[in-house]
């Protein structure tokens, strides 16, 4: 018994001595952070997972005091991704739109608007992002996006959504309000050209386990989007995205997930530059698709 206790004590002591060394060798922390200079922070995607975990630990994100009505800050890239398990059945019209998005080449969706840097629109700017930042001001909350280096205004001054918007917008018209500790955003008036998607093409694992990228998810100009954000703690933002488009989907499409705060990151700029993208398509994408020479993407 005494021997066992001694062995336990020795092993415990040894493991304590070993732990800091093991943490120091956490894979990824040996990569130097990419910083423009003293006082600057890294961009959300410029950190690997080990850096992110380290930053969050140093900032005590799980135990730090927070104001439930303050959602400001930089939240992680790919905030939430569309939940394909909750994808509702299409209406006949929706199925027709979905079928029309089918790719003409293999391995990438030739018709994805992102291939030629057309605006991602909302909510794709959220479900595929390089980091976002909420900034709360009197009468409005601004949602900045690193991808496209653009922003969305969520009006909180009490105005109502337009019943018949004069112009369809890529990011729609958005109003917000607090319901208890949850910030609710309602938006409408969307341009119907953007897709509902994550990255390039709608790349995902289907239920069959296959990697699918042949189609994009459409929406109509009548789409309504409701978002809710609730700060679970200083570092976690419960996010719910409800896409309600009865013309295309037979019931609302709900995605829920948690976005994480990135305490040591600040937004950089990611512009999708058409000339660069088209050159990249011809140099590195089209040659791998088996498509004839001269094939273009994005249509």
């Amino acid at each position: 018994m005494r021997k066992s206790a001694l062995a336990t004590a020795v092993l415990f002591g040894t493991s304590l001595a070993w732990l800091p060394a093991a943490l120091a060798q956490t894979p990824g922390l040996e990569v130097p952070l990419s910083l423009p200079g003293p006082g600057w922070k890294t961009c959300p995607r410029c950190e690997n997972q080990a850096h992110i975990a380290d930053d969050r630990k140093k900032a005590n994100v799980d135990t730090r005091q927070f104001d439930a009505h303050d959602i400001s800050g930089v939240w992680g890239d790919n905030g939430i991704r569309l939940n394909l398990d909750t994808l509702p059945p299409f209406t006949p019209y929706g199925k027709k739109l979905f079928d029309a998005t089918k790719s003409t080449v293999r391995g990438i969706n030739s018709k994805d608007p992102i291939n030629i840097c057309d605006p991602l629109g909302y909510p794709r700017l959220f479900t595929y992002n390089y980091g976002i930042e909420f900034i709360q001001l009197p009468g409005r909350t601004l949602e900045f996006f690193e991808y496209g280096h653009t922003w969305r205004t969520i009006w909180t001054d009490g105005r109502k959504l337009p019943a018949d918007p004069p112009v369809a917008r890529y990011l729609g018209y958005a109003v917000g309000k607090w319901d208890g500790d949850t910030f609710i955003i309602e938006s409408t008036g969307f341009d119907e050209r953007p897709w509902l998607a994550d990255g390039v093409g709608v790349t995902y694992y289907s239920h069959k386990g296959e990697y699918e990228d042949n189609h994009g998810f459409p929406h109509s100009a009548d789409m309504k989007v409701v978002e809710s954000y609730k700060r679970l703690n200083y570092g976690k933002l419960q996010s719910t995205l409800t896409i309600d488009d009865p013309k295309v989907y037979t019931k609302p499409w709900v995605t829920m997930d948690v976005a994480t705060l990135r305490p040591n990151a600040e937004l950089s700029e990611y512009f999708c530059v058409p000339s660069e993208q088209i050159a990249f398509n011809s140099k590195a994408i089209i040659p791998t698709t088996g498509a004839p020479k001269g094939t273009t993407l994005g249509h």
């Binding site: 995607r45 997972q49 990255g199 990697y211 990249f280």
Partner: protein, 137 residues
């Protein structure tokens, strides 16, 4: 008793490392590349295109018959590649490299880069933090 303690310690260490290992995020399809194959290709850098949407490396590889084949390798955005430890100075034309790729399924000289070593074997990029492996939803 000692064996049980050791087992617990090993299991604990495994859990710790699993929790700390970098997650992999994909943001585009790699369906045209064969993810089951890691093909090391020793050659000379022709072009290092440090730009978006993705960083590209072009390098010449001499095949066993003596023929020079020009390969094009795809990485991720400059943002993601900074997370992997690359920067605008990492490579230049003329550098000797050994680049491992998931090669194009159709046999064409294109690949999704998974690892980069310098010609002397020094590791430059051991593992991508974002891609090329997709994440299951």
């Amino acid at each position: 008793m000692l064996r049980r303690i050791l087992k617990t310690a090993v299991a604990g260490a495994m859990v710790l490392f699993a929790a700390l290992s970098p997650a992999v995020l994909a943001h585009h399809s790699n369906a045209n590349y064969d993810a089951k194959v890691d093909k090391p290709l020793k050659g000379t850098v022709v072009d290092y295109d440090w730009g978006n949407p993705h960083v590209l490396i072009v390098w010449d590889v001499t095949d066993p018959s003596g023929k020079v084949v020009r390969w094009t390798g795809d990485l991720a955005s400059v943002e993601s590649e900074q997370a992997d430890g690359l920067n605008k100075h990492s490579l230049k034309p003329g550098d000797e490299v050994i680049i491992s790729v998931h090669p194009a399924k159709d046999g064409s000289p294109y690949g999704n880069i998974v690892q980069i070593r310098r010609g002397d074997g020094t590791m430059m990029l051991a593992e991508r933090s974002q891609g090329p492996k997709p994440t299951k939803q």
